[in-house]
Amino acid sequence: MSRRLHLLPPWPALALVALLALGACSRYGLIAVERIEIASTYSVEPGIKWNYLLGQDIELWTVDGLSLQNMFFVSGIEDGDTLLVGKPEFDFFNESKIPEYREGFSLLDIREWIEASYAQAEVARMETHDFRPVRFGSKKGFRFEFSFTNEDGLSQKGFVVGAAIDEELHLIIFTAAALHFYDKFAPEAERIIRSIRIEGDDKPAFN
């Protein structure tokens, strides 16, 4: 574990967790600028070409590199699932502290669960704000903004958009370096969010 991590640059923690979850054999692919289906549940339409990595219930998109900007799609979260993937191999005390998602979580619980997951990933100075209801395609969803500092001392900004679809939680997390990259890619991230169309619905719904 440590050797594997050693080889990796200090990406934003969650992206790194996700990447490890994708497995060593994952390779980037290039997404066409067209409607893309996510986890057979909903689709989005990016306006530019992104690179993607695909895992079970996880997709990770980036243009210039994960620490500069990424879109993290986490799908089908159910009772007992963790946002961070797997048990820590370094769990000396055999007591995993990864926070688990629980059925019946309130909206406040969901945000708290995401914050706690990030804290376990050791990101520093995580702050969240502007928690509000938004549309997620045709569904009622939520959104909040966040900022944290990664291990290089690089400030990161982003937002989480999520909704329950068929009793499973779906999250889209946009993260980018606060300097330059957030402002440059936030409009594209917003466009992707606005383009969400849930399987079975005819038209995309806007906020």
């Binding site: 440590s2 050797r3 991590l5 050693h6 200090p10 923690a13 790194l16 967790v17 490890l20 979850a21 963790t82 961070l84 993937v85 797997g86 048990k87 820590p88 191999e89 370094f90 769990d91 000396f92 005390f93 055999n94 007591e95 995993s96 502290k97 990864i98 926070p99 309130s106 909206l107 406040l108 619980d109 706690a116 804290a119 376990q120 990933a121 050791e122 990101v123 520093a124 100075r125 704000h129 502007d130 928690f131 509000r132 209801p133 939520f142 909040f144 944290f148 500092t149 990664n150 291990e151 290089d152 001392g153 690089l154």
Partner: protein, 413 residues
């Protein structure tokens, strides 16, 4: 995978192996035997002046020791930019002031970093880097106690303990092993738990004489600077109390658990303090100065401790903080948070009780009403939950989550 360890904190954690670390103190060996005693003459002598340390002097670059120094230098570079270092100017100024007071003429050669990590720890590297963990600032109760830990670390530094320890390692282990230890240190994940386990692992590496010597240096520096000589013992008594909340779980190798003889150590430090007290009239504790510097960051530190998710131990810590501190509303609030997050019917009731205690105090954050509402909602007490949410919004007109709260309130009607 959770311990997603990121190079910088790896380095911070790893430095424990390379540094004089308060958590590596072997309590069973610090005694008032011949080497642990101090004389009246020693107490009055210039403890810093006795040091043979030449700051800035480094081993030759082409030696193994030299290459180890290069590694700790590069680790310091990473610490400098780490997101885990607390940059609050007032707190840094304050802590550095205490370090400087204790280190005297060596002050210009010591760089102090306050690391955001929820455990009791302080480290000193032979290159002059001192790390103070935020968990230590939460646990010591006054400036004298902080100074006692700093003094102990300065003891390792000015008596060149790391140099001796490395040389001993190089002599008794093969060179490849030593290099591997350093590499492992640099690669160990940065969870606070692991910082402790590194410390525990390197426990044997520090000699008994070194620890005893550093304790005596620490005490002499306390007396020299007019601090209460009982401070060092008080730290250990306090830690022993916290330890009692973790005894149920022998596998959790935290700092406290790695020191089964904390009581004995406290006793020995007490004997030293009793002696010193006879020869020193000053007993400065600096409680108010310390609290003024630390209170602004206390909520953040408590949140870090809560995220550690060791709820029982956390409540043990809170019980002590409530007993010792001022502006204790925030402690009651976090006690409630720990019960709420732990969950379960009985715990939800206990959470409510703590929140009520917190809400009765003016210094408590307004989010206590939101927290109460969440518990009430979980208990199915919809009307009461609505009322509490309403109270939160009323007291916090600019609440960043107002719209979400309104959605939740709609669901409760």
């Amino acid at each position: 995978m959770m311990r997603l360890e990121i190079p910088k904190l790896m380095a911070i954690a790893g430095l424990g192996l390379l540094a004089g670390c308060v958590a590596t103190v072997d309590p069973s060996t610090v005694g008032t035997g011949s080497k642990g005693e101090i004389t009246k003459f020693e107490l009055a002598a210039d403890v810093l002046g006795e040091s043979t340390l030449v700051p800035g002097q480094r081993p030759p670059l082409d030696s193994l020791e030299g290459s180890l120094w290069m590694q700790i230098d590069s680790a310091e570079h990473r610490i400098k930019s780490s997101g885990h270092v607390i940059r609050n100017p007032a707190l840094n100024k304050y802590v550095r002031g205490v370090v400087c007071k204790m280190a005297g003429k060596f002050c210009p050669h010591i760089r102090t970093y306050i690391v955001r990590a929820p455990n009791f720890n302080a480290l000193m590297m032979p290159s002059g880097v001192m790390q103070i963990h935020s968990g230590l600032l939460l646990r010591v109760r006054n400036e004298a106690e902080l100074a006692s830990v700093i003094g102990h670390e300065i003891g390792h530094y000015i008596r060149l303990h790391s140099r001796d320890r490395w040389r001993n390692l190089i002599d008794t282990t093969n060179a490849v092993m030593v290099a591997k230890m350093v590499m492992a240190a640099a690669g160990v994940p940065g969870s606070s738990q692991l910082i402790d386990s590194i410390a525990a692992g390197s426990l044997a590496a520090y000699s008994r004489d070194h620890e005893r010597e550093s304790d005596v240096v620490g005490l002499r520096l306390l007396v020299k600077n007019g601090y209460d000589p009982w401070a060092a013992q008080n730290v250990w008594v306090q830690l022993e109390r916290e330890r009692q909340f973790t005894k149920q779980n022998p596998f959790r190798s935290t700092f406290l658990d790695s020191h089964p003889s904390g009581i004995e150590r406290a006793g020995n430090l007490g004997a030293l303090a009793r002696f010193a007290e006879k020869h020193s009239k000053k007993k400065d504790r600096g409680k108010r100065r310390f609290e003024d510097a630390v209170i602004p960051l206390r909520e953040t530190m408590l949140r870090d401790e809560l995220n550690h998710r060791d709820y029982k131990r956390f409540r043990g810590l809170l019980a002590m903080l409530i007993r010792n501190g001022r502006k204790v509303g925030v402690f009651h609030f976090f006690r409630g948070e720990s019960f709420r997050l732990q969950g379960g019917e009985g715990n939800l009731d206990k959470a409510m009780l703590s929140y009520r205690n917190a809400a009765a105090r003016s210094e408590t954050p307004v989010i206590v009403y939101r927290a109460m509402a969440r518990v009430l909602a979980k208990q199915g007490k919809k009307a009461a939950a609505r009322k509490a949410f309403g109270r939160y919004l009323e007291k916090s007109p600019d609440a960043e989550d107002r719209e979400i709260i309104e959605v939740i309130m709609d669901g409760l009607s």
